[in-house]
Symmetry: D2
Subunit: 369 residues, 4 copies
């Protein structure tokens, strides 16, 4: 069935394969009248794009976005916004052998079993390259939410393999290739260099937040804000775990400490991560995700081929030794798309009336960090 | 917006409030011709219902389900199956004060801010009581999946507060009030008794699995099986974290250990938790969820009322000191509903052809346990 | 698949069978804070209910509606509104023979072929009785739209069999059993009496309108307002044709006459029927539908049974000789549900800003009448 | 809201404006493994494209389709199929004045009122040019349905302005520029020439059918096959009326004649148009639509501008004097898309079991023609 549309009111339909002629998306439901150019989108794409440091895939894609529709004289018209990104640096010959084999931990196996056919070039449809159109769509959502509510999305690396990264300041994030919120990343560089030499890969943990989120977003029982965030995050390539607020730490908390006290000036703590009963409280959204190590590694692995015969798989080609590194702008974009969807849903049913309450409830530092 | 329908092809629409005349759901899309009576559903409801031990809420509800439609002469007809559960043991006077106050950590605040009105009796719409219709709907899904594919759903308590519960055997789960997979639960009983005396509450961690899951379920990019599982689980009351397979442990794993090797006889490990690229592999689905401590506690908490005035909140009424205890059958039901939805989606696009492959790939013991 | 939910933002999920214990619906997405009681709904149900004259089925159902959820202290809370109507006057023995036979022109055949099973009692799920919950849901939509925008829905009989009914005035509609907008209905009574004596049935044409419709409702390309109206109307039992505005008369019109001229004071004519490019213009919505003659007639018909053997079918039981007679409140309700859905959709994307323009463009008498 | 996706399981998302860089669509949900090339699609696009005779717009567009994704080595992979059509012959300067005025009978007015902004070049989003991607998507649906069930779609002109066109044979349809099922179209040519000289436009009536339609398609109560057909047809630009089977003629029919008798060899007549109770019967689908006269005409019309000032509108540019002429392949495509959607829905819930019954019930000549 059609699982390639993200959202209902701000609906983003994604298409393309890693080594096809182009990838892209169609955004349907964007409010009309917002100024929008390619430049508004390109910034986030540049943060995500490959080839920017030695720690990520060396595939060199400019990922230049083109707006095909939905914008007239520099403003959104309310009609679908089609975004196109050409694929320019495919090296499909690298994948000849992979076409007949299943990499352990990779979608090769499951796509083949589901569809009976798959495009193996660069991972085809299962490639993380397909997150690029979502980053582009997320940039559109971010712009509208910022202009309308002042909502702002930020993400950073919280852990890479065994190394827990201390949070120093958001300002450091753009200054290193790891999206790490710290000044000195030499330890991370050494770690990644060693890993690459070993022909291995590692996991990562990403933190992503939103501030100035309007109250009242989320549609229980099922389309809860946190449920949709979990859906969006778990759907990112390689994600295996999602936490909201205190997350798994809440297992060992008591009710007397977990429940965030409220004063007339706002919440005292933020164990909830900005969501109660599936509805935003106006506090910062706090999300944490676990990303598994890349499955495409040069170390030999035991597997089978399409004829169920045993094979030893060695993945050449250009791959990220830690897919988590480029996941930060992706996670930000997905969070923005969820908030955007719910902002529109909320005003459908409840109107815009609750936004003015927001400043009364500033978000404290999350207590679980 | 309408967020009260779970699923698209096997669509369950939930209605009701904790202290209204009745709660229930409408299941739309159930395949025709399946034998179904109330007895097929009541079993799981009985596992979930309150009042069965001193460790859960003392509200005494029989939770007897009535089938209002969609079944003729004991068989499903393919038309909507409406299920009704009467509310019989409401004590709404317990909630008089709560109507004007916001319990810390509770949906009181966010419902009020979103809708400008809420039914405060027993938590109204935000009550965990509304999981009962989902357990009922899940029982219908479980029956169809078992008869069609032999799929089986099981859950257990993995941790309660500070106590990690060792997995001894599934057989023990029904023999104690905690859904613990162990023989001797005296430590748990003592822990809960002390907690109750202290007027406090604690969190929990639940594990839920599915075996004999057909390959090929899941619709990437967005309606991935694991993404939908995350959505379903995070949507359960009080859940703050979701893991698939190795989950957050994958952050510190290397690619050489995380990626599950494959042999002609099947997978060697199950770090993936039964899903690769968002599509089921035929291995057991392995899901773990974190449940926060109950917010309705008798210990006094700092909060505000609807007029933004400071108040001290003390919650009387009957509440679960650990909502995680009754969460096991709920999590099973939600997982069953996700698998059911994807089973129907998969045969829409791909037909039923891939089910026979299943027995070739038995699931090993999950490596991360 | 699940085809029993009408709408996305104002989603009405219908359940029940003609002779089951109860029928009903769940309304999801109703804005919070609207005063609502059973009395607000019962009026339209009474207009639709059977047994009110000798010209309709003699089944005697009070069709008393009960609100099960979503209303607290007389106001909607924004949570699902479940409505229940008990079935009280079933005579299922009348249908013993029909269970094995297919009435010509009836859904007996197609339900059997699709599902392999059907509830034959009173037509089961295919009975027009299932329009009652939609009339109830429509009453909720009507109330909100009237209070918010002053929108008003009206319908009348325009033709019954061979008799074209002149439009005299809306005021006459409630004063006769045919919903005819004329004073003297003696000709219609004689016509129907003769038809009933002949054991035959006839078709009808219904006109339904909405006034004070906000501009800007409708979501092209596909969820156009007129497209959704056509969908809603064609989905009513026995409807075989739908027209918007000039409808089929537009085939022989020229562009110079069809296109409604506009002046600063409003439109001059209303061939468009209130919709241009799939979006409401603020003019009256004008819809016309064709309803086929009842298929359940006492005159013998040639058919087959479930074993593909030839049979002569004679339908006893209690049936409407012209199902069109009771179709007027149904068509009004369906139109109201479509407008409600689009009112919410429009404010999701575009806000409420265009409503004030409305009074500038009053709707003239439709030119094609 | 997002109204630009057609279908749920075979979901076609349309984008583009008449004079933007490109138009196109994304097909999501196509079953994998079907052979597909651009040539399979181009044929229907060529039937629809402008500039092929003096009776249609002289805009000269090759409408060459490019497949951007979803096909690997000539076969569908089950992932989204993106189709792109470049716009090459825009003459946007023709529309300078129209940007500030509302053509009577045109979507200019309603788009402006809804969105507060519109792309006026060539009608922007409201242009019938946007039906091209649907014709392309319909070709994909047609191919799958033909290969799977032998289903075949055909359409023809039934009336143009005042001239009712007798049905002689399907074979004649491709041999004249009107899609008329007759040999000698000289009368039609003279009619259209006179109309063009008069600077006016006319309406049309199109008939579209499907044969070898599997039984059991359609999901009552609301997603009935005929309801969805009505929705799809009314959504085509300029359509004002839709009939299924006997349509409005059923108003004056009696039950004894309308209900199609059944014999062991099949139905005797086809007043139902292939649908009973919203579910296909295996008979031919018979649909008729009314298309209004083109609103873009050179004859001066009374209207207003965006400042609500009176203006006289004269539409230059290149337009179809009868948009109905090119509507035949469009209506076929929309019918194919509806049938495709329901074919997938049906096998989700009911499997493929009922297809073999089909040949037992051949469809007779429709009785109402």
């Amino acid at each position: 069935m059609s699982g390639n549309t993200f959202g209902t009111l701000f609906a983003v339909t994604n298409f393309g394969e890693s080594h096809g002629p182009a990838i892209g998306c169609v955004i349907d439901g964007c409010p009309p009248g917002m100024a929008l150019t390619e430049a508004d989108i390109q910034g986030d794409l540049d943060r995500r794009r490959p080839g920017t440091s030695r720690h990520v895939t060396q595939r060199n894609e400019p990922d230049a976005v083109q707006i095909l529709s939905g914008v007239y004289e520099g403003k959104t018209t309310g009609t679908p916004i089609a975004l196109l990104i050409q694929n320019t640096d495919q090296r499909s010959k690298d994948y000849g052998q992979i076409a007949q084999q299943f990499r352990p931990g990779h979608a090769d196996f499951s796509y083949w079993k589901k569809y009976g056919i798959r495009d193996p070039r660069g991972g085809g449809r299962s490639s993380a390259r397909l997150t690029a159109p979502m980053v582009a769509a997320g940039a559109v959502a971010k712009k509208w939410l910022f202009e309308k509510y002042g909502t702002r999305f930020r993400g950073c690396m919280a852990q890479i393999g065994d190394i827990v990264i201390p949070f120093e300041a958001w300002d450091h994030v753009p200054n290193n290739p790891f999206f790490a919120p710290m000044v000195d990343v030499s330890q991370l560089e050494a770690y990644m260099d060693a890993l690459r030499k070993a022909g291995d890969s590692c996991g990562a943990r990403i933190r992503v937040t939103a501030s100035n989120v309007p109250m009242g977003l989320g549609e229980p029982l099922f389309d809860k804000l946190d449920a949709d965030i979990a859906w969006a995050m778990m759907g990112i390539n390689a994600v295996k775990g999602v936490e909201i607020g205190a997350g798994f730490a809440s297992v060992t908390q008591r009710g007397t400490t977990h429940g965030d006290s409220i004063t007339p000036q706002g919440f005292v703590t933020n164990n909830a991560g900005g969501v109660l009963g599936g509805i935003s409280t106006g506090q910062d959204l706090e999300v944490s995700i676990a990303i598994k190590p890349t499955s495409s590694i040069i170390s030999p692995r035991q597997s089978i081929d399409v004829n169920n015969q045993p094979v030893e798989v060695v993945t050449k080609g250009r791959h990220d030794p830690c897919v988590g590194i480029r996941a930060t702008p992706i996670a930000e974009a997905m969070l923005a798309l969820v908030v955007m969807e719910h902002a529109l849903r909320n005003r459908a049913q409840c109107g815009d009336v609750h936004a003015p309450d927001l400043p009364e409830h500033p978000s404290p530092q999350a207590s679980f960090l």
